[in-house]
Amino acid sequence: MNGIEINDVTKTFGDTLALNQVSLTFEPHKIYGLLGRNGAGKSTLLNIITNRLFADSGQVTIDGLSSVENDMTQGLLYLMSEKNLYPESMTCNEAFKWTKQFFKDFDLDYALNLAKQFKLDPRKKIRSLSTGYTSIFKIITALSVNTPYVLFDEPVLGLDANHREMFYRILIEKYSDNPFTAIISTHLIDEIANLLEYVMIIKNGEILVNESCETLLSKGYSVTGTIKHVDTFIADKEVIGEDVLGGLKTATIIGPINKSTLPDGIEITNLDLQKLFIKLTNEE
């Protein structure tokens, strides 16, 4: 069996149910978006996959082997997390060299080349880096380890728009040259939506959506028009959100579009992942 398989995983912290019987599969060589609001359970899931936390119950297997306390499976994974696990007095250069000790396929030349592209001076101590450059240092490490599974937890935290664009570009180039599984947890959904092949949305520790991005977005659509027109049109449809601005109304609908019955005065637009995410994860 290939891929990361998560089977019925539950995790609690005291009274808080962080993950509730989660089952998921991450297939090889695909780019996944792991989306959820703050506190939804994304980081907990990534930490369980990489053995930094242990599940209360359930199993995680990597290419068919249990992930728990297993050096071999852990060598297949790399997690770029919010926490910095390197000693802070270490320079980036030293950190790259140590990473090479743990991950034999770490490509030092590639890492130094990326550092140059991002204008990160690798002689600097990790401690002295700004929030943005700390993220850049972690991105560079994650993109250079060459493990089959790379997990990114909030990779673009603190990055300016130019550096975010660079990250997306380098990620695509890297993935095209040498496909790997990327699991990306981010709040900047609009920017990354079209990069994702699959989308998983977590809400309150449960999987709400687990689908190919294209299928998900083709499941519904938005309509805009006068309140009267829109209300008539949506009366017999599954509506997941409505917004009114003056006399205009926009409604988000789940279901197939039947263009032949489309009344005048109604305009149709595609679903967009960020808007859909907001509708699905809003607490009413």
């Binding site: 180039e173 040259d177 990069l195 092949e197 294209e214 083709s218």
Partner: protein, 122 residues
Amino acid sequence: MQINFEDERPIFVQIADGIEDAILTGAFEESGQIPSITELSVSYKINPATALKGISTLVDEGIIFKKRGVGMFVAPGAVSKLRDKRKELFFDHYIKKLIEEAKKLGITNEEILGMVERGYQE
């Protein structure tokens, strides 16, 4: 070539249509090389699988061909093939919509013909 993420067409269709447009206008010439999957994915920030799906439809139609290890090229005869295909779609895509809108506005058949004439002269 522009990708509009609010467009009703899926992104892979927009990629294929965009390349077709570029071939029809001569921006990509017959037998000339077109951008690689990676270049397309990077410039539009889309998943390479999406770009590949768009290109594959053109390969299946014989508009684009691949040379192993070299890249992708516009097939000889692609322009006339595309013209024939687009002409077939012209009625559905443009004329039907035109008449629909004209009916809404109360524009007659003769008036449309007059406008078409004017359009060609301008």
